[in-house]
Amino acid sequence: MKRHSFQTRLFWGFLVASLVPLLLCSAMLLQIFRLRMTNEARRGMEERLETAAQALDAAFDAFAQTAARLQGNPIIAGALAGGGVEDTLVYNELFSATAQARSWASFDLYDLQGLWRYSTRQIPQAERLPTDWGALFAAAGPGEPPVFTACEDVTDAASPLLQGAVLLADGRGRPAGYLLVSLYDSHFRQLLAGTHGAQSDLLLLSRYWRPVYCEQPSLAEELAPRLRSRLLAGQSLEGDSEAFLYAQAHHAASGLWLVLQQPQVFTRATRRLLYTVSLGCAVICVAISILMSWKLSRQMFRPIQRLHRVIGEVERDNLDVSVPAERDDELGQLARRFNGMVSALKQNREALIDNQRELNEAQIRMLQAQLNPHFLCNTLDTMKWISKINKVPQVALMSTDLADILRFCISPDEFVSLRREAAILRRYIEIQRIRMSGAFSFELELPRDLEDCLVPKMILQPIVENAILHGLDGVEDGVVAVTARETAGMLEITVTDNGRGLPPDMASGRYRRPGGEERKHLGLYNVDTILTKHYGGDCGLYLAAGPGGRGAAVTALLPARREEEQAC
């Protein structure tokens, strides 16, 4: 899987942390807002339906009262039965009975054959109505409130929209004729004016959800069948469209259904607006996430990048660098510790370089000492033969010894057996005896098992020379003794003299190199350096007072290694 950069991960983190709560919040708000608004609207619609139903109640109560007042009226019954009653009398009765209700409907009287006789309108709706069909057929019995039936065409303002009929009886309970209550478009308009808001449309539907009345008849004609089919299909009246809300109520007295249609308060446009706002917030979130992740990663990245660069420098062997550590946080600590590490590394390396230089200097000095030694050897050989010819045996001996020492010195071997080292030491002692006329005695005690031990060549001669030249200077019966022993894998070679003891500038214990540019005890210095460089800091020269407090004892300490081990 591809690894995302720190910055990308930061970005996603910020994005999720900000976007998810935002979206959840928006959706919840949207939902709550919608439910609240819809409920609010529904409550308002129900109130308006209630108002409309009350208006209808008033009218239909009045119709029932009118019917009750005309029921059993002898004048009316007589007139309908064709009893020759004067028209004015009949109309007087009719108008007084319908006084309360006349503004909401027109009233007609039909005889039992369905012939029109009297009307509160100027023109009757029909001269004759079938008694086996429609309104008169459905007429309620005497004493009951009229039964209302819807008429056919909702859009026809000239014909009644709703008709109710009741059978009128005479005083003895015999049917005499019909009272027909007809409600026209204008009546409904008057009845329902102001009962519902301007925003909504009130639709009156029959018992079977056929359209009866609407302020806009064309709306009723178009909407009612749709509502009816939804009702029959058991769907909600809203259907799939989100444009309108519907509320309905049943009006028992008339058998009508009141349906209120109102545009959705929470429209598509509102929703789109809220979506847009949410989207805008989301975009801002994304922008902030980008900005924050960029800034934060930059803050973290700058010190890391500097550290990165400095490590590169260190890799290229430049230790004179450091990271600015001005901050106090974790990154500042890291920088400080890194700086400490670099400076420690630097000190270490300087020590190493010093060490190397010292070794190099010693080697150079040795090389200088080996300058043109062959010429010297040959010369010494020549001197040996000349002195033999001239019978000067000391010179011959000295020449032979010197030539051997010289040869030994210039041999390429760096390490030699202790046996050879001791042999060369004897040569040197022979020369010194001749030089100093045998003023000291020399003892060499070398255990046989140590004869094979390997030592750097020419380490004993400088110590012994030091003992002879400085220790026995002006001492009678001087003795120089060389002993070797092995202790715990370490070879100890001790040169003891009984001379003047350690000079004041040299304390007993581990040999300390003289400071500064001083070149005193060059021999001891060189030997100590050789041993230290070869075998490490613990090996080297140790000084002590000689046995019995006289003279000095110089011990060379080095690992005891045999020739065969070396060979391995």
Partner: protein, 343 residues
Amino acid sequence: MKGIRLAAVLLALVLAAGCAGGGGAAPEGAPGQENRLVLYTSHKEEVYWPIVKEFEERTGIWVEVVTGGTNELLERIRREADAPGADVMFGGGVESLEAYRDCFTPYACAQAEDLQPQFRDAQDLWTPFSALPVVLVYNTKLLRPGRLTGWADLLAPELRGRVAFADPAVSGSSFTALVTLLQALGEEDGGGDTLRRFAAHLDGRQLEGSGEVLSAVASGAALAGVTLEETALKRIAAGDDVAMVYPAEGTSCVPDASALIQNAAHGDNARRFLDFTVSPEVQRLLTEQLCRRSVREPGGAAETLTPLADIPLVDYDVAGASGRREALLMSWAFYLSGEEAPS
């Protein structure tokens, strides 16, 4: 990656929550199944609406009306045979209903004995609704009264190419008229000769639908035409310059009908509706307001039309006409385009 997936899931949840919660519960006021009836009807609204409305008011049954062409609705009934969408097929000539006999259930309606026997099906598979005689019409300004008295006059040379006749393959009434014409003029050699003569007489011109016949005659585009009594009476009542004659050689009077669909969900309500369609009130409505002829026994003063007994009738065989429909239509199509009929 995980973060993105989580975010996507949350987003989907949020959107789902945003969309849900709409739509209210089913509204109150809907009738139970026992108070419902579904009608397929090919009648015009002016015919079915008063009847449906009165039926609702009288019975308290909610009627759902699905309108369409006769053949379209019959096809639909056959398609829905396993789960019928309707209870009653209301309308359609009995010849059409005959072709779909297996989709219907026999029902002998109440007052069946009051119906004229010639309009009843032997098995009561359908219930007749109205009788529709085939008539001839002519333009009163262009044709002298008495000039057109029967089928033979229609074939007179001066009317050649001026007769309005609807395509019998489209219009059921036009097919009935064609069969009636063949029967009335005699069917030598199986009617082939008469059929060829009539087709040639039309000069290859037939109208797209039965509704156009009256318009063609009233506008003068045709001098005479063949249509149903009901259609002609309505145009005459509307004041057009059209007159109607019952052909002297005899005409047919094939009823349209209603039928109970097999396995109807609301069978009882369907039977009540069929009873209602032949009730005296509805049948009187037909004659008084819809210019149709009742299928009940004549009687009473309401009869304003020429009594059926006074109209010469041919012996029209509904089942036979229905059976030879395909062959007849094919011959007709050939003759009309001026070719010989296929042997």
